[in-house]
């Protein structure tokens, strides 16, 4: 969730009221944003000898693009507390009636097909407004625009350029201009190298002054780098406005003194390009000489049927059912009451003239998050106050509880192990490839373990296929504990399984490890016998010896000496069961091989047991 820092005094001025931190926190809570921090009483950074004024750091839900700047937070809260209603955003054509035009060339469809734009006339920037304008673009680029891949914004001083404009896609060598904050002209290809070098100044190929603040641009380069054509916007004098989504031209850059702003927006996503346009003009048109007016421009894009005038400020008209709103909220509100509550959430709503259960709702351009009447219903509940809603809980549903069989089984084994004097541990499920294979003297056949694509560290390369690495690592981290250490775990491992929809399956295992001055082999063996006894399996060999009377159909288990490189030769056994006439190998135990102990940095001998519990279901 994005966090927006706003000037506390300015915000309270905009809201027409001083709040205590607690009062403001309460307001945020009710509205559904979160006051993270009020910096009034903390040490704040000093810039040019002046301490930064107190700020409120406010966390905004990820879908409220209309609250990513000071202007949006102030606007929404003002409407919510009833100071005002949402402004009426409207189009205003230039006095001569001639709209600016942008012609979109067909080649752009190869790289970045959608274009939108808007003009803000006679805007008055202050340092704070200017900073907010830049910061909002950055927030939109990061969040909604997914690091500029979906949408990119360029803003220009309209008085430095001359329409009509063209949006084109050209080979990088043919695009030449001075990028923002640079004086030297470069072509598209050179620019790629230039900003690549900004990332790694050591490899800087020229004596150009590398602006450290342009370092962040390098992460956008891959969006177009390998394309045969790059997107570019020209004015009628072939001055480059921008090469989206990388950088604007230096020529048309906006300053505090800029009066008329041309906003270009390019995108690969047709829906989000309009959201971005709406948010930018809704937030900043208030600073125009005639507040909340936006000058449209004409886009000529016949090849993809996208010729139109932008922006379109008409609210989305939809309907919501009163009965639905009332039933989910547990309320019995009249149409007028619902409409009144919706006004506080920036909607325009009125009871339908033709249908009694319907509210006609106008969703403003700022509320791109509203997709369904469920969203409208939630806003009614927020305006009413979540914590004021009546608390009826229907007692209609009769239900019968049931535990998942594998959990019930594993819990039995866990309790038995603990009662036998073993301590339960909970290591991680992800581990390194070596821990799961090489360190246990096991080979990976490539068909066993699920591999992760993008782990942040080598600790998490695969999903474990055995519980042993976790137990051994736990012992390694607890060597200061008195010996013997007796630990166990009953939990899932996972295996590749191409026959299933998800190409993988979990398997519930039980494993235990003894660590002490002696090998503990017979102790681990004893734990196996105990667990088997508790699961009602009788030892076949003991029965044969005559100490134990067993019926033929009694579940049985036995162990066989096994040759397994994880264990010390001659000190390992496989565990077998016979159930309903079929036999299965369900696990193994033994004294770990000294090389395994060395791999896990364990100076004392260790014996382990690992069982697959699925067979006992």
């Amino acid at each position: 969730m994005p966090t927006i820092a706003v000037d506390k005094a300015e915000l309270f001025k905009a809201l027409g009221k001083e709040f205590t931190t607690d009062e403001f926190d309460e307001l945020c809570f009710e509205f559904g944003i979160e006051l993270d921090e009020d910096t009034s009483n903390t040490k704040r950074p000093v810039v040019d000898g002046v301490e930064e004024p107190p700020q409120l750091k406010i966390e905004i839900p990820a879908n409220r693009y209309d609250m990513l700047c000071f202007e949006g937070i102030a606007m929404n809260l003002n409407v919510f507390i009833g100071n005002t209603t949402l402004p009426n955003f409207r189009l205003s054509a230039p006095s001569n009636g001639e709209l600016q035009t942008v012609t979109v060339k067909e080649e752009t469809s190869k790289i970045r097909p959608y274009f939108s734009c808007a003009i803000l006339r006679n805007i008055k920037f202050t340092q704070a407004r200017y900073d907010s304008f830049i910061a909002l673009q950055d927030k939109l680029h990061q969040n909604l625009a997914r690091q500029r891949t979906l949408v990119a914004i360029g803003t220009h001083d309209l008085d430095t350029i001359q329409g009509p404009f063209t949006y084109e896609a050209l080979p990088p060598e043919e695009i030449e201009f001075s990028p923002l904050n640079q004086t030297k002209k470069m072509n598209g290809r050179q620019m790629m190298d230039f900003y690549e070098a900004c990332q790694t100044p050591a490899r800087s190929m020229s004596r150009l002054v590398v602006q450290w603040k342009d370092k962040h641009l390098s992460k956008y380069l891959p969006i177009i780098r390998d394309s045969p054509v790059y997107p570019v916007i020209y004015d009628s004098n072939r001055t480059v406005l921008s090469m989206p989504p990388i950088i604007n031209g230096n020529h048309s850059k906006i300053t505090l003194d800029t009066k008329n702003v041309f906003i270009d927006i390019t995108a690969t996503d047709k829906t989000k390009i309009e959201i971005v346009n709406h948010i930018l003009v809704a937030m900043f048109s208030q600073y125009c000489e005639e507040p909340f007016t936006i000058e449209p421009a004409k886009i000529i894009s016949p090849h993809n049927n996208e010729s139109r005038e932008e922006p379109d400020l008409s609210p989305r008209e939809t309907q919501a059912e009163m009965s639905y709103i009332n039933s989910v909220c547990g309320l019995d509100l009249s149409a007028d009451q619902i409409c009144k509550l919706l006004t506080r959430m920036c909607y325009k709503a009125s009871p339908s003239k033709s249908e009694p259960d319907i509210i006609d709702v106008h969703i403003p351009i700022t509320r791109a998050d509203v997709l369904h009447q469920a969203d409208i219903m939630e806003d009614v509940a927020i305006a009413y106050g979540f914590n004021n809603l009546p608390r009826h809980f229907p007692s209609k549903s009769a239900a019968i509880a049931a535990p998942l069989a594998i959990n019930k089984l594993a819990d039995i084994v866990r309790l038995e192990a603990a009662m036998a004097g073993w301590s339960e541990v909970l290591p991680l499920i992800l581990c390194s490839h070596d821990e799961n294979f090489a360190w246990l003297n096991r080979a990976d056949d490539g068909a066993t373990a699920v591999r992760l694509q993008n782990p942040k560290t080598a600790e998490y390369q695969i999903v474990r296929t055995s519980l042993l690495p976790g137990l051994l690592k736990t012992i390694r981290e607890n060597k200061k504990h008195s010996v013997p250490i007796k630990v166990f775990e009953a939990s899932d491992v996972a295996f590749k399984d191409t026959s299933l929809e998800r190409k993988s399956r979990n398997e519930r295992h039980f494993a235990a490890a003894w660590y002490g001055k002696t090998s503990g082999f017979e102790v681990v063996h004893g734990l196996l016998d105990r667990v088997m006894l508790m699961l009602n399996f009788l030892n076949r060999d003991e029965a044969v010896a005559g100490t134990n009377k067993m019926k033929a159909d009694n579940p049985q288990y036995w162990i066989e000496e096994a040759d397994d490189p994880t264990y010390f030769a001659g000190h390992a056994a496989s565990v077998h069961i016979s159930l309903d006439g079929t036999s299965h190998v369900v696990g193994s135990f033994g004294v770990l091989h000294p090389t395994v102990l060395k791999n896990f940095e364990l100076p004392f001998p260790v014996s382990t047991l690992e069982l697959n519990l699925e067979a006992f279901l």
Partner: protein, 434 residues
């Protein structure tokens, strides 16, 4: 056998420096000598060396201050016969034994007094992990309220079940490499289709309910799931909008949908269970407590793995206030009685509420869970009727456990770095008691 009385007295002794001054004269004297003048050292005239005492307290203080004398304790004993005086050492026995019972020696034996101030013998005790002890408490609360456990035995799931079916758009930040573990091998999931193992587990658990409430008619009315239709509905609701929603309106990608991930929440399984419920839409309650994975940078409060506790309630006519009422009751069983609900954003619930509880120790409201009603865009593509509403709520198992035991670093609770002594000495969990 022997008693004694202690007589403490104090004697005054010369320090090394004092001795030296007695023998050779004070430092000042030596200086005096060097300049051929005569002087007197008062300490030499005092009887300290002979009497080991000094009556003049002021002078004693002065000398001690100059570290020319020091005091040392002299302890002497005067011995006489005690009440149990004997010429031989009697045998003291420490314990009552079977032999003593047989011989009757216990009658005359001289028992050594027991030290009631020490701990008893250490037990060869096993221990359950604290997190699993808390898990047991949660399971009991769920079982007492009629919840059926969900089959969560699948760490690997497809984008379809983990995201798309929950109306999480394909460009949502949660689907970034920064947040989710993607699987490189195996490469790709199949489209959704029947899952026999999970099906069998659910059938087994619902046996009881079917016997009690089920009728033959209901069985007949069960309409089998249509996976193809579900798939197409999900595509439609994302790409073009459907079921009363305008959708996200972006080109929906099958490849993205079939990428395999480590599940980021157990809600992936709730989704599967709710789709199953569409065969016979009825009131139902499900829960799970299992491991989930996030590609987080590990720090004191974040691990790449943690346990999610999740509850789902489906019923007709559910209200938002009803969810609050349910959660107030649920958290009261955990000893948390004062709740507030904050509107929040979650792609698959609307309304969404963060649950805040007042933490008396910290003196502030802390977020203790998330909740909401699943979106129509998630439920209706499954074939569930519009009027069946579904609550979902979740919290981590680690967070309440950390608050409960004052653990500030999650790595001290989950993973291989946990101190075994902590596991072994951790008290039994009674969430309803303090």
């Amino acid at each position: 056998m022997v008693a004694y009385d202690t007589k403490d007295s104090e004697q005054v002794l010369l320090t090394g420096e004092g001795e030296m001054i007695c023998d050779e004269g004070s430092h000042e004297y030596k200086v005096w000598n060097v300049v051929h003048k005569r002087g007197r050292v008062p300490i030499k005239e005092l009887p300290i060396r002979d009497t080991k005492s000094l009556a003049d307290a002021k002078m004693l203080k002065e000398l001690m201050k100059r570290q020319l004398v020091k005091t040392s304790k002299v302890i002497s004993y005067s011995i006489r016969k005690g009440s149990k005086y004997a010429k031989e050492m009697p045998v003291e026995v420490t314990d009552l034994t079977a032999d003593m019972l047989a011989s009757g020696d216990w009658k005359t034996a001289n028992f050594k007094p027991y030290n009631f101030k020490t701990l008893g013998a250490a037990q060869n005790a096993g221990a359950l992990h604290p997190l699993n002890k808390v898990r047991s408490e949660f399971r009991n609360i769920f079982f007492n309220q009629g919840f059926v456990e969900m089959p969560t035995s699948r760490y690997v799931d497809s984008g379809f079940w983990n995201f798309d079916a929950l109306f999480v758009p394909q460009q949502h930040p949660a689907r970034d490499m920064q947040d989710t573990f993607f699987i490189s091998d195996p490469p790709r999931a199949d489209r959704p289709r029947p899952d026999d193992a999970a099906e069998a587990a659910m059938e087994e658990m619902e046996k009881g309910a079917n016997m009690l409430f089920g009728t033959a008619e209901q069985q007949k009315e069960r309409k089998p799931r249509d996976y193809e239709r579900y798939w197409n509905n999900i595509k439609e609701v994302h790409q073009n909008g459907a079921f009363g929603s305008i959708g996200y309106r972006y080109p929906w990608s099958e490849d993205e949908c079939l990428r395999l991930v480590l599940r980021t929440h157990t809600t992936a399984v709730s989704t599967w269970v709710l789709h199953r419920l569409a065969e016979d839409p009825r009131p139902a309650r499900y829960f799970s407590i299992d491991r989930v994975f996030r590609n987080e940078t590990v720090d004191a409060t974040h691990l790449a793995e943690f346990h999610q506790v999740e509850g789902v309630i489906a019923d007709f006519g559910l209200t938002l206030g009803g969810l609050m009422r349910f959660l107030e009751d649920f958290f009261a069983k955990l000893g948390i009685t004062n709740l507030r609900f904050k509107p929040a954003y979650n792609p698959y619930t609307e309304p969404s509420m963060e649950i805040f509880g007042y933490h008396t120790g910290l003196g502030k409201w802390v977020e203790i869970g998330n909740s909401g009603m699943f979106r129509p865009e998630m439920l209706e593509p499954m074939g569930l009727p519009k009027d069946l509403k579904v609550y979902g709520f979740g919290l981590s198992l680690e967070r309440p456990t950390m608050i409960k035991y004052g653990v500030s670093n999650i790595r001290e609770l989950l993973g291989h770095k946990v101190d075994l002594n902590f596991i072994e000495s951790n008290a039994a969990v009674r969430l309803d008691k303090n």
